[in-house]
């Protein structure tokens, strides 16, 4: 099963990298970008076939390693 995980900064947390993207897009002439927020995308190929169990495991992975839950949110998509 494939697990696709998006990790993003929580609302309101300063995103210096997003700020740099926004600023650079502007200076390259891409007008009209009001805000840029960036995060990371992680894809795992896991042996588990039961969706509920897989979600439980991946959630634990996010809590322990993949996301810094103090400042980041995560979302998990599973695909057989």
């Amino acid at each position: 099963m494939k697990a696709r995980i998006h990790v993003t900064l929580k609302n309101g947390v300063l995103d210096p990298q997003g700020k740099a993207i926004e600023h650079t897009l502007g200076s390259l002439g891409f007008d009209g970008v009001n805000e840029a927020r960036q995060g990371k995308f992680i894809e795992l190929d896991i042996a588990e076939t039961d969706e509920a169990k897989a979600r439980e495991t991946v959630t634990a992975m996010c809590e322990k390693l993949l996301a810094n839950t103090v400042i980041e949110n995560y979302s998990i998509d599973l695909e057989q």
Binding site: V13, P16, H23, V70
Partner: protein, 729 residues
């Protein structure tokens, strides 16, 4: 129906007595915004309400002092029309919650305290304390904090040249991250936070305001409990690249004649910066919060006034200088906004969407904050452990090996190699020696900086421990040949409402005071961090001292490395073999017992003056102060640093048992390696300083009395392995 319930008051950390004072000052019930402002202004962090009474007893004056405590940082004269500006500040609680960002914003905050006064930051120092290595959180915290300190300091381009890392179970739930910055300014171009001139514009520059760390200043004064993991407020995130722009922009603006007063927005952000500026100039302020640059939509006045967004400054400009300041800030890509004006009302008036949303008197809030004379009890005397009370080591070399491979004695190379300690090109002595040494750019002078504290001594005997922390910085600065000029202090303690904790605080201050007076070494800035407790268990009392000294001729300095083979090792200072509370007793015998060593301040000064004169005279090039692990540990450090062996020989007349003589932690001592020992001994005798030859350098091995021989290569491996192995575990 009142907006302010007793629950809301309590949530703001204001007790009943304090709330009565709030009502008296306001003459009416405050609204939520006003209550929030009281709460941050009267938090322990901003008001020093438990510590003020005692801090006042510290000596803060001397011919070298240009500005003492009370400003953003202390200022001392370093000659040639230059001044050094420095301070140390804690970021303990935020670093426990989010180690990378907590440590990073700690570094950012202390940098701003220094450049806000007109100084270019030239050196950073970090004193870090973590829980026991086996605690499940420790490795994660070490890794995050070290990366955060390095990440911010390296990106902003200021070298980290000195510091400490220590482990102890008492810090399991409360780590300490104490960051210090030293900056360089022209002595006649110092900027302060004193507002003046009715009608002058109040200007906001830097990053936009978001909902970062709201109530961080209040959080820093509250004890943790197990639930605090859940109610984590938004963590501040630092942006070192913006900080770099802010440094350059502010220093450029300072070259013009536009600034009346300037203050960084640190803890309690816009609130404390505006109140401090207005109160030190006895002025009033009217702020239009609609003008505050905002990162998020729908921010309330409460959030704007209490936000701790990083990389922001508040400036009072001279009239008509707005366009000049705006053009400089815009050139550096920073936000600029005129958000208010100075008034003569002596009140803070806050406007939002055309309404007055807050109206508070400034002086009573800033100056009449509660001040507590908290009850305290002296720490009872500990029964000392005598040199004759410990077992003789079966092999002193084996004991040394164990000692220097232990968590607290092992090399910190793994840590400081992650810090850029060479950026700016003026670093003369890197971390790993007694003090970091940085050249005063473009001159032959240099500053020596160090931080020290021995918390286990402070626990056993706060008065001796406080004196020892000051004396150890004095010694470290002296050991590189510099003259110690002044200190900053970062007082980290448990809950001051417990008399025994307050007693530790009072005792440490007394010891520090004695040492500062005896060594002509005043306190010019500092910070207090109380309530470092989890579930009622306090940290070891940890008054971290940051010392700054001056090398008038940077070529006349000493390092910890031996110069050449066949030199004599000369021990300066007398040894009785004090083993109480020593690292040896702790690591080898598993006993943390006894009293802290006596600090003979007269001897400390005499020995220091003597060693310094020998280095200044160019006679001594290799010198190390003795601290944890005593003579044996010092010889090992020097051998490792020079990749050269040595033999330690116990003089026949010494009656102290060998183990205590080698590992005892008597204070006021230095180890010197020198070719012409005769002249040094003569000079010492003339100066009335105890000096004795205790061995010679040479070969590839280290030999101790009562011990076998060990190669320097093996010593280094033992010493350097612990930290990387631990972090890899």
């Amino acid at each position: 129906m009142s907006e302010i319930t007793p629950e809301i008051v309590a949530e703001h950390g204001i007790n009943e007595e304090e709330y009565a004072l709030v009502l008296e000052i306001m003459g009416r019930e405050p609204n939520l915004l006003e209550l929030g402002i009281f709460s941050v202004m009267w938090s322990e962090h901003c008001s020093y309400k438990s510590s003020k009474k005692w801090l006042k007893t510290l000596p803060t004056e001397g011919p070298q002092v240009i500005m003492g405590p009370g400003e953003n940082a202390g200022v001392i004269d370093i000659g040639d029309g230059n001044a050094a500006i420095f301070k140390m500040e804690s970021h303990n609680h935020p670093s426990f919650i989010e180690p990378y960002q907590g440590a990073a914003t700690g570094v950012g905050g202390i940098l701003r305290d220094v450049f806000t006064m007109g100084a270019r930051p030239i050196a950073n120092v970090n004193a870090l304390r973590f829980g026991e290595p086996d605690h499940p959180k420790t490795r994660h915290l070490v890794s995050g904090v070290v990366a955060g300190v390095g990440g911010y300091g390296n990106c902003v381009g200021v070298p980290t040249v000195a510091g400490e890392v220590e482990f102890d179970p008492s810090y399991n739930g409360n780590i300490l991250v104490n960051a210090m910055t030293v900056g360089l300014a022209k002595a006649d171009r110092i900027f302060t936070a004193q507002a003046s001139g009715v009608g002058n514009p109040v200007v906001y520059v830097g990053s936009k305001t978001g909902r970062d760390g709201i109530h961080g200043a209040t959080m820093a004064s509250a004890e943790f409990d197990d639930a605090s993991d859940e109610k984590r407020p938004t963590v501040q995130v630092g942006d070192p690249f913006t900080e770099k722009l802010l440094i350059e922009a502010c220093l450029e603006l300072m070259q013009t004649d536009a600034i009346v007063a300037i203050q960084d927005m640190g803890a309690a952000g816009l609130t404390s910066s505006s109140f401090e500026m207005a109160s030190s100039g006895d002025m009033g302020v009217e702020l239009n919060l609609d003008q505050v640059p905002q990162r998020e939509e729908g921010m309330t006045p409460y959030e704007m006034m209490l936000s701790e967004s990083q990389e922001r400054m508040l400036i009072i400009l001279k009239p008509g200088k707005e366009d000049l300041a705006r053009s400089i800030m815009e050139k550096w890509d920073l936000d600029f906004a005129v958000i208010g004006t100075l008034t003569d009302s002596k009140r803070m008036v806050l406007k939002f969407h055309g309404d007055t949303v807050g109206d508070l008197p400034i002086k009573p809030l800033a100056h009449h904050s509660p001040e507590y004379d908290r009850p305290w009890v002296s720490t009872p005397d500990s029964k000392d452990v005598l040199a004759s009370d410990i077992n003789e080591a079966t092999d002193t070399t084996d004991a040394l090996k164990t000692l220097i491979s232990s968590a607290n004695m092992s090399s910190r190379r793994w840590v400081w190699e992650q810090y850029d300690h060479m950026v700016m090109g003026d670093t003369i002595q890197r971390p790993g020696g007694d003090a970091g040494v940085v050249r005063v750019h473009g001159t032959n002078r240099a500053l020596a900086v160090t931080s020290d504290c021995t918390p286990r001594y402070c626990k056993a005997n706060p008065v001796r421990g406080g004196a020892q922390a000051v004396a150890e910085t004095y010694r470290n600065i002296t050991a590189v040949g510099a003259t110690p000029l002044a200190i900053t202090d970062n007082m980290n303690f448990g809950n001051p409402e417990r008399p025994e904790i307050m007693g530790q605080f009072v005792g440490c201050i007394e010891g520090m005071r004695d040492a500062c007076l005896a060594l002509d070494y005043p306190v010019v800035s500092g910070n207090v961090s109380l309530y470092n407790e989890t579930n009622g268990k306090g940290i070891l009392p940890t008054p971290v001292i940051g010392g700054v000294g001056l090398l008038k001729d940077s070529t006349k300095t000493a390092t910890v490395a031996f110069e050449s083979e066949g030199e004599s090792l000369v021990l300066i200072g007398s040894s009785i073999g004090h083993v109480g509370m020593s690292i040896y007793l702790d690591v080898i015998e598993g006993r943390r017992e006894g009293n802290a060593p006596i600090v003979d301040l007269a001897a400390e000064r005499k020995n220091g003056d003597f060693v310094r004169s020998q280095i200044e005279g160019g006679f001594v090039k290799s010198c190390h102060d003795l601290s944890d692990g005593g003579l044996a540990a010092a010889v090992a450090d020097m051998a490792i640093a020079s990749n050269m062996g040595a033999e330690v020989i116990k003089p026949a007349e010494v009656e102290t048992p060998t183990t205590a003589w080698l590992f005892g932690e008597d204070q006021g001592r230095y180890l010197i390696s020198i070719g012409d020992a005769e002249s040094l001994l003569e000079a010492a005798e003339e100066a009335g300083v105890s000096a004795v030859v205790v061995g010679r350098t040479g070969g590839n091995d280290l030999t101790l009395p009562g011990g076998s021989t060990i190669s320097v290569a093996e010593l280094r491996t033992c010493n350097e392995a612990w930290m990387p192995n631990y972090m890899a575990g």
